[in-house]
């Protein structure tokens, strides 16, 4: 029989307000095996932990039950405390009487009764607990960053600076991400390229960083400290090691009518291309969809003009396998598709553009070399209307329910820059609310209104109708003056909501990292562990976790890097000891468990047994590799003979909990 101590936490009034903690302590005192039962206002505090430690020593406890908040919160805390007092940490069980009791029930007798039942279930489980000993697994001292935007770049640089090798996998032919497409950045109006491209070059030159551009992650196996990742290096038909990035092939290529994705289709590029002048790696890529040589076998001009001999039409996709200790996800965002927003005439008029397209129109490296011209006729627009919250804060189902966070600020920036460069232009901004929380953000917005004379109008645009004379009739409401407005605009800019990149969903499945309903990655704790995914060894950086601007992205990237560095500094990691275990006397070697194991942790061995009649028999039995097993328990249910069991969540323990609850 175990000697069990029960500790009830008040959690201030979080628990004590709806659960009669004294009554719980009293009721649980009479459970079989319980030799000590007490309550305390804050069990997780140092004084509270000391009560647990002292009781373990004074009463020679062999098991501990803490009735407190969720085990996801403080299980580790109390296990550590038990270990300090000399008790095996896996002899501690938590009854969750806060999140799953006091916080959801209002009736005190009911909540108290439930807390007692939950406590009894935990006591019943502890009776069957056995000490567990965690093994160790080595850490591969190399990190992988998936996504090469500003988030990925900053994370990689920080990890590399700490002396660990890090690989960046980027699907595009160059790193840099969305920030390369921006013109200026709020609130300081630094040129995006001027502050980003040095970092891109740093990445290329840092000997600890390896860039896999034009590549994708196709498979992830393993676990924290020991991931095996398959990277698909898409054929770019150019030998990266030979190409000097001179660009002659791009000039000579006869196929020049390919929409340029870097300029969002607002101009064309050739079939062999370098995305932009500062691309890293500065290597040409042949677009197989449009190259005549690859499609029809006719042309071959680029190979003829390439003095480096880098063109290789026979290149194939290559799959490489690498080992990593930690993985950082930095897959970023995209503006949403505006097909569902017919009222804004985005698909009907070339002069209705998104904010990202506006960035390209004002960027010196953009299709108009930085002169703001209407995409339809190349004339200078005299009236520009900016529409905020297109698809953001949208509960109609067409867009996203969340706030995209960056639009208020970049629209203020666009409006301000337009007025500065072209003072003869009238600029209107339609908004629901202007949200400018951030250092120097509100001052920036006020400058747009007060100093630059941008017309901010609270209200939504109802409809945009392209007119025969090429203007756009904007019908809107002014909510503060309570009147309808009709503006004839030359250019309309839509602040489209942002959403996680489409590659994030399949990646989350590969990484077994969880996502929220909007496909943003979920963090391990929304406040206290914001850069870690609930899956150990997987970290989050940038907008894959939620909308954020550049300063926030960079700080999160640094935070993710520091978490990775903390992990890679360790030589060994403690494994989870709650793994499957096969009773070899009961195992009949049927292979049912092996087939359901997602990790391949179960193998078979012919083992010699001394039978009761003193003969020996050789039988085939299952062996669990404890370093590989992750403890899901799929095998335990598949096992027909009941030989397979899960430590820490054994059949008998769960049955005991069921019995205690149903009593």
């Amino acid at each position: 029989m175990q000697r069990i101590g029960v500790f009830i936490c008040h959690c201030g009034t979080n628990i004590a307000a709806t659960v009669d903690v004294k009554a719980v302590a009293e009721a649980l005192k009479h459970e079989p095996g319980v030799v000590f039962s007490t309550d305390y206002p804050y069990m997780c505090s140092e004084a509270g932990q000391n009560i647990v430690k002292d009781a373990i020593r004074d009463y020679h406890l062999s098991g501990v039950v803490i009735c407190s908040c969720s085990p996801r919160m403080h299980e580790a805390t109390f296990r550590k405390a038990a270990a300090v007092a000399g008790l095996n940490p896996y002899m501690v069980e938590i009854a969750n009487i806060r999140e799953q009791c006091s916080w959801i029930h209002k009736d005190i007798p009911q909540a108290t009764e439930k807390a007692i039942t939950l406590g009894k279930a935990a006591i019943a489980k502890v009776h069957l607990n056995a000490p567990l000993y965690a093994g160790e697994s080595p850490v591969v001292k190399r990190a992988l960053v998936i996504g090469g935007g500003i988030a990925g770049i900053q994370t990689a640089l920080d990890i590399a600076d700490a002396g660990f090798p890090v690989d960046i996998v980027e699907t595009k032919p160059t790193i840099g991400g969305k920030m390369t497409q921006l013109d200026k950045t709020f609130p300081t109006l630094d040129c995006a390229a001027c502050i980003l491209t040095p970092k891109m070059v740093d990445c290329a030159q840092n000997e600890n960083i390896k860039i896999y551009s034009y590549s994708e992650v196709t498979d992830v196996k393993g676990f924290v400290g020991n991931f095996t990742v398959t990277i698909k290096r898409k054929a770019r038909y150019v030998d990266e090691t030979k190409c000097t990035g001179c660009g002659i092939c791009t000039e000579k290529c006869p196929m020049k009518k390919v929409p340029n994705e870097f300029n969002l289709g607002m101009n064309n590029r050739s079939a062999v291309y370098i995305p932009f002048a500062q691309a890293v790696p500065k290597v040409a890529t042949i677009d197989p969809e449009h190259c005549n040589m690859l499609k029809k076998g006719k042309c071959g001009l680029c190979a003829k003009v390439c003095t480096a001999g880098a063109i290789d039409y026979k290149q194939k996709d290559e799959f490489i396998e690498e080992q990593y200790g930690a993985i950082v996800v930095a897959t970023g965002y995209n503006p949403i598709n505006l097909d569902k927003f017919d009222e804004f005439a985005y698909s009907q008029s070339k002069d209705v553009i998104t904010s990202l397209e506006f960035e390209r129109l004002t960027n010196a490296a953009g299709p108009t070399s930085g002169t703001l011209l209407r995409p339809s006729d190349g004339k200078h627009p005299h009236t520009i209307v900016f529409v905020q919250c297109v698809g953001s804060r949208d509960t109609s189902g067409c867009g996203k329910e969340y706030c995209s966070k960056i639009c208020c600020m970049y629209t203020a920036k666009h409006a301000m820059l337009t007025r500065e460069k072209y003072p003869d232009t009238d600029v209107y901004v339609f908004y629901i609310d202007v949200r400018t929380p951030g250092k120097s953000f509100d001052e920036f917005y006020r400058r747009a209104v007060e100093q630059y004379g941008v017309h901010y109008i609270k209200g939504m645009v109802g409809k945009i109708v392209p007119q025969a004379d090429g203007t756009l009739a904007v019908q809107a409401s002014d909510l503060l003056d309570n009147k309808q407005l009709h503006i004839n605009a030359d250019l309309v800019v839509l602040a489209a909501a942002i959403e996680p990149d489409k590659s994030a969903r399949p990646l989350a499945t590969m990484l077994t990292a969880s996502m929220d309903t909007n496909d943003f990655f979920t963090e391990a704790h929304p406040k206290l562990r914001p850069v870690e995914s609930p899956t150990a060894g997987v970290f989050l950086s940038g907008t894959c976790q939620g909308p954020k601007d550049i300063p926030e992205t960079v700080s999160q990237a640094g935070a993710a890097a520091s978490k990775v560095i903390g992990l890679l500094c360790k030589d060994k990691l403690t494994c989870n000891p709650c793994v499957a275990h096969s009773d070899e006397w009961m195992c009949n070697g049927c292979s049912a468990c092996e087939k359901v194991c997602p990790y391949g942790a179960i193998t078979y061995e012919d083992k010699e047994f001394r039978m009761p009649d003193r003969t020996t028999a050789i039988r085939r039995v299952a062996i669990v590799n404890e370093a590989v097993c992750q403890g899901c328990g799929a095998c335990t249910v598949a096992c027909p003979s009941g030989a397979m069991d899960l430590k820490g969540f054994s059949n008998s323990q769960i049955m005991a909990e069921v019995d205690a609850i149903c009593k």
């Binding site: 969720s70 085990p71 996801r72 969750n96 806060r98 999140e99 799953q100 009791c101 916080w103 959801i104 029930h105 209002k106 009736d107 009911q110 909540a111 009764e113 439930k114 039942t117 939950l118 279930a121 989350a508 499945t509 077994t512 969880s514 996502m515 929220d516 309903t517 979920t522 609930p534 899956t535 709650c578 359901v596 997602p598 992750q630 403890g631 899901c632 328990g633 799929a634 335990t636 249910v637 598949a638 899960l646 969540f649 059949n651 769960i654 049955m655 909990e657 069921v658 019995d659 609850i661 149903c662 009593k663």
Partner: protein, 147 residues
């Protein structure tokens, strides 16, 4: 069968996987989303850890309803666990149906860590359904009953 007994408080066992649904239940708590105290949660590492025997045991010991919550298909922390759950429970539930246990007494739901509201709504709905069905006597082992 007792239907109009407003005093009846069902015994409900909820198995929740550690990674999604248990976290979803915690989130429901953090957001103070009420559901009846009749629901008692047992934490399991994965929904695929739930042996059909546990559910039979619960009914045998007098549970009136058993609900099993896991990650959404495709989102399992252990990649494929919830697919096993889905298949196993389909078989178990058809057997329970054969034994005369109303199929509304058992349920499998996918609740992610971000779906606190869904967790509370699911529990409210399940408790209401089971309360309407009344006490489960079909599988209850009277020898297990104390008093």
């Amino acid at each position: 069968m007792q239907v109009n007994n407003s005093e009846f408080k069902p015994k409900i066992v909820a198995f929740c996987c550690n990674w999604c649904s248990y976290a979803g239940a915690d989130l429901a708590g953090t957001n103070r989303l009420n559901y009846p105290a009749d629901v008692k949660i047992i934490r399991v590492p994965c929904s695929c850890r739930v042996n059909p025997m546990f559910i039979l045991r619960a009914f045998q010991r007098g549970a009136d309803g058993v609900i099993l919550c896991g990650c959404h298909p495709g989102d399992c922390h252990y990649t494929t666990g919830n697919y096993y759950t889905r298949r196993r429970m389909t078989l178990l539930f058809s057997m329970l149906d054969y034994l005369g246990i109303e199929k509304e007494r058992t349920r499998v739901e996918w609740v992610s860590a971000a779906e606190g509201a869904k967790f509370a709504a699911t529990m409210n709905d399940f408790v209401e359904t089971v309360t309407k069905l009344g006490e489960n006597k079909r599988l209850e082992d009277l020898r297990c009953k104390e008093k």
